[in-house]
Symmetry: C2
Subunit: 614 residues, 2 copies
């Protein structure tokens, strides 16, 4: 037996017992004669005591112990002397008097200090991830992931959802994101694809009577890595349900979040802010009811926050002043309106911006495609701004009516085309949030963004393409396509945003083969094309398809938000780098020529030449 | 709202309520005026009643309903008339009087009848798996898999094991089974490999202080499919623990099985048969203690059952008569012994074999590399056999002493080289089991097979190779290699067998870099080779590696046994065929030339020519 207890378990109740502990040496203190060694495992720390009177061999060996050695110690648990108790240790009430010691493994000096406080260079830490894992913050994220997995699977199972493991080897659909592919040895020249999501399989489960499906599903998309998207594989909480309408799905997702947050992150709170008056007036309804999440259409979200994943923990919504300033003496406003553009503004409450702040935020606005940033500062003495002199009384009144500015507030202005203006306003709004800490870090504000547009039209070629997954149902089913303005056809499709991130996508599916074929023909022209691209779905949808819908939480991104991490790598035990590499394992790597031959493939000539292969 | 209840939920307590049901039409019975339609969902069946007096439109529509139509019906729950209750329906006490009906989707006639009893051709069923899923036996296996997953994950979490999701994109190790590989777009000419198992990652977790790891892990091996091995991906219950010895690991695995079986398959029972006297006499110990599983070494298992995965639900162990028959007058026995071979026999209790039985079992023995099958039949009048005339009195006595045959028993004999004899005996033993139903189908007999040999030597080339995973610890660590007979070096490595299947593998790892390097040098010669092949492990094992060990249950195969299925495909929702194809999705498939180009690969010229590509 290597150990009778972990370091976290031993306490007063064990006094007098003989115990065996195997783990790493945390530190060693030589008090002249007696040696004190703290033993550490992932659960806690226990103090051990070596006295040559108890056992000379053990004491002699202990003299050689250094930090991080793996040792096995046997001894008797004893109460600590009065006054020696160490309140920083979970097992501070006892120590273990060692009578037998064994060195299990010697070790080289590590390439970086293993400490919860020192941050070594990320490259070194990823290369030696097995040492990095010993750091408390890294371990905590792994434990958090395990808790999230467990809670999620049990929650959905308890609610009657059936977990189905869908295939990881499937067929390529080059229409969406790029596929990762696997050459087949048994079928020369052919390839499997790894699923970008289990989408087709889970829809087929609905045809197969599994009316409530879920899976914490591995997904694979060959996209370039970024901070909130892990390269190679990622996970989604994948759900599909039959005989549901949009609100049935919303209730399940909200219910899950309401149960999840207090369980896995009790330090966070779900915060539903009151709807800003300016928005309520325009949309003519409240944005949430009771405990339900905020609901905005895609169009509204763009109009008021310039984003389909708005951070709604703070207000600063956009007010439109196009009509108010259509006769402005300020030529920038006037020109914008005359050219079919808009004038918009947002207010920041009670922040004193310095000249430097203003300059830097202006730089941000420039990066966000605005030429300049106009503003009014409201001081005790009244408003102050370089452009104030152009404003008429009615224009000042319009600002007053809509923003009721107080001393200390600022109003920022934009003018130009709708798309450019809201894009820049969004960037500035988020920059101000970060610069002036406008949000409560422990608040989580969730919002549904609904009614996504179905198609986008390429400006240059005029080609119609899907904005999103074409398997969603348009509002009004097949009749939707009677609208000659295809950019105004909307899906029953939705995202959930949280604190400025997209954390869920979903839709009601198009289960009507006629409407589905029609939608696809808008983009791919022929029914034959649709049949070829979606063979299984085309076949299956001829046989009693129930109405159905889905959502998928971006599981990793949700964890990233809940753990306050800024890069998605932090919630993987063994993450890929920003270049999609595993520096610890040296992946990817070159293969042996025989492997390529067996798989019936070869590296392309131009690459071989460039790399000097062959 | 599409439905207020599932068909399984409605009962007497709902009488008088208005309900909405959406599902498939099971069947329709026209009683002259009133139409009765059974509505079916995956939970149950509910009878609905259409009377033109209640609602004429609904009644008219119901006239058109055919089996499998998707309909949405609204009506009032009513008690059935006395005597009309149908005991075959779970909701037999009520029926629903329909006042509103809607046809949600029409449908084509299915390619096969969807029935729990009719078995359509497997090829058709796999192509239309979404229809096959509606069959009860298929659904039950999917539900079983979900239950197994849930029980397993919660069990290991409850026992303090930390679930870690290890990477699915890793590096190729061409030394073991064949890897599936994924070409990298960002790193021209390089490839990821999908993990054959998370082995290296989980060992690195041990270096990283995660002392108890588990995962229901997807694994990928490019092996040819067979009945108990799914192609492409499969799953294992993957466990690694630090500071453990072999028996610590055995206890965890046994404890899991003891908790699992009564929960997920209450109709099965764990059966630990008494050790046969002949085995006990030779090994000098019992084969199990108390509730613990049977334990045999690899050598013992081969000797007594000719297999490293013996079915121990029934006895028929092999007895050795080499010494007893070394002066036999029966030349076949004598020659075998003179040539260094052996004479072995096994007894079958109380089965009357016909001439035809004997002929057919002899054929089986021939397929198992025996030239013929000698036997004695014990009848009321005494033994009967063509070879009895050669037997001396002492030889008859030896048989009597070891087998105590009774009337109705049979003894079968083999003579020849040890390897050929036990191989044939094993095949015949299992054939007799199946032919004469020698086992209780609901019994599960688990056995540990321990101390696997480390190396095998190629007969022709003399090349030494690993019999199994080289990361296991040999008995006696580095000193093991002082043994000049490398075939007698044994690992601390084990399998668990159940009813003739291997359902678990594991070992104590070699955590001593010196012994590990030495083992690998036996096969790959240079330390540099070892460094190149196992870069991450070689690096990591320099830093305080704790003693550790592992096991992995072959999850799919375990489920196959527990559900009495004979092919592993039956426990996958969307299985691959025997040719590693997904007939429903048409995977694998050819890619677009642009995809190949982007991945820097090409199909080999010879394959292109053969397939007429380009």
């Amino acid at each position: 037996m290597h150990r009778s207890h972990t370091c976290w378990e031993l306490n007063k109740s064990h006094i007098g017992q003989e115990v065996t502990l195997s783990w790493w040496v945390a530190n060693s203190r030589d008090h002249g004669w007696v040696i004190f060694i703290d033993l550490r495992d992932r659960y806690g720390i226990t103090q051990t005591v070596f006295d040559p009177i108890d056992n000379k061999d053990a004491w002699e060996l202990a003299n050689k112990f250094r930090s991080e050695y793996v040792v096995k110690l046997t001894g008797k648990v004893k109460a600590r002397m009065e006054g020696q108790a160490n309140p920083n240790l979970s097992t501070w009430e006892i120590e273990v008097i060692i009578v037998k010691a064994e060195l299990l493994m010697e070790s080289k000096t590590p390439p970086f200090e293993i400490s919860d406080h020192v941050e070594a260079n990320e490259e070194i830490r990823l290369k030696h991830r097995y040492l990095d894992l010993r750091r408390k913050s890294v371990l905590e994220n792994i434990v958090f992931r395990a808790n999230m997995n467990r809670f999620t699977r049990n929650w959905f199972s308890d609610k009657g959802f059936l977990e189905v493991q869908t295939p990881i080897f499937t067929v390529s659909s080059p229409e969406w994101a790029r596929d990762y592919v696997v050459p087949s040895r048994l079928h020369p020249g052919q390839f499997y694809a790894l699923p970008q999501a289990p989408q087709q399989y889970k829809q087929l489960l609905m045809v197969g009577w599994i009316d409530k499906y879920f899976q914490v599903a591995p997904c694979f998309r060959d996209e370039d890595p970024r901070a909130d998207r892990h390269s190679c594989e990622f996970y989604q909480i994948d759900v599909e349900m039959s005989f549901v309408e949009q609100d049935d799905i919303f209730q399940v997702a909200e219910w899950f979040i309401h149960d999840l947050i207090p369980t896995v992150t009790p330090n966070k709170r779900i915060f539903v802010p009151k709807i800003p008056e300016g928005i309520k007036k325009l949309i003519g309804r409240d944005w949430n009811v009771d405990w339900r999440f905020i609901k905005l259409t895609h169009k509204e979200s763009q109009m008021f926050y310039g984003s389909d994943k708005p951070d709604l923990r703070f207000d600063m919504h956009f007010e439109d002043f196009t009509l108010d300033f259509n006769k402005s003496e300020f030529s920038v406003f006037k020109d914008a309106v005359d050219n079919g553009g808009c004038v918009k503004a947002m207010k920041m409450d009670g922040v004193n911006m310095s000249r430097k702040d203003i300059d830097e935020v202006t730089e941000v606005a420039r990066g966000g495609w605005a030429k300049w940033l106009a503003y009014i500062i409201y001081e005790e003495e009244g408003p102050r701004s370089p452009i104030l002199k152009y404003f008429s009384e009615s224009e000042i009144k319009a600002l007053q009516d809509r923003f009721s500015p107080k001393a200390g507030d600022m109003i920022f202005f934009w003018a130009g085309s709708f798309k450019a203006v809201i894009k820049s306003m969004n960037v500035v709004r988020l920059a101000l949030r970060d610069r002036f800490n406008l949000v409560d870090k422990n608040a989580l504000t969730f919002a549904w963004i609904t009614d996504f547009p179905m198609f986008e039209i390429d400006k240059d070629t005029g080609k119609v393409d899907f904005e999103h997954n074409p398997f969603s149902m348009p509002h009004w089913w097949a009749a939707a396509f009677d609208n000659p303005n295809v950019e105004e056809i909307y899906w029953v499709q939705y995202d959930m945003s949280c604190n400025g991130y997209e954390i869920l996508s979903g839709s009601i599916r198009n289960h009507d083969l006629k409407a589905l074929t029609k939608a696809m023909e808008m983009v791919w022209k022929s029914e034959q094309d649709v049949k070829n691209k979606f063979w299984a779905m085309y076949n299956a949808f001829q046989f009693w398809v129930p109405p159905h819908g889905w959502f998928a939480f971006w599981f990793d991104r949700l964890m990233m938000i809940l753990t306050d991490e800024e890069n998605i790598r932090a919630i993987y035990a063994f993450p890929k780098s920003g270049k999609a590499e595993d520096a610890m394992m040296n992946a990817p790597s070159f293969l042996e020529p025989e492997q390529l031959e067996e798989l019936h493939i070869d590296i392309r000539e131009e690459v071989k030449e460039e790399l000097g292969l062959d």
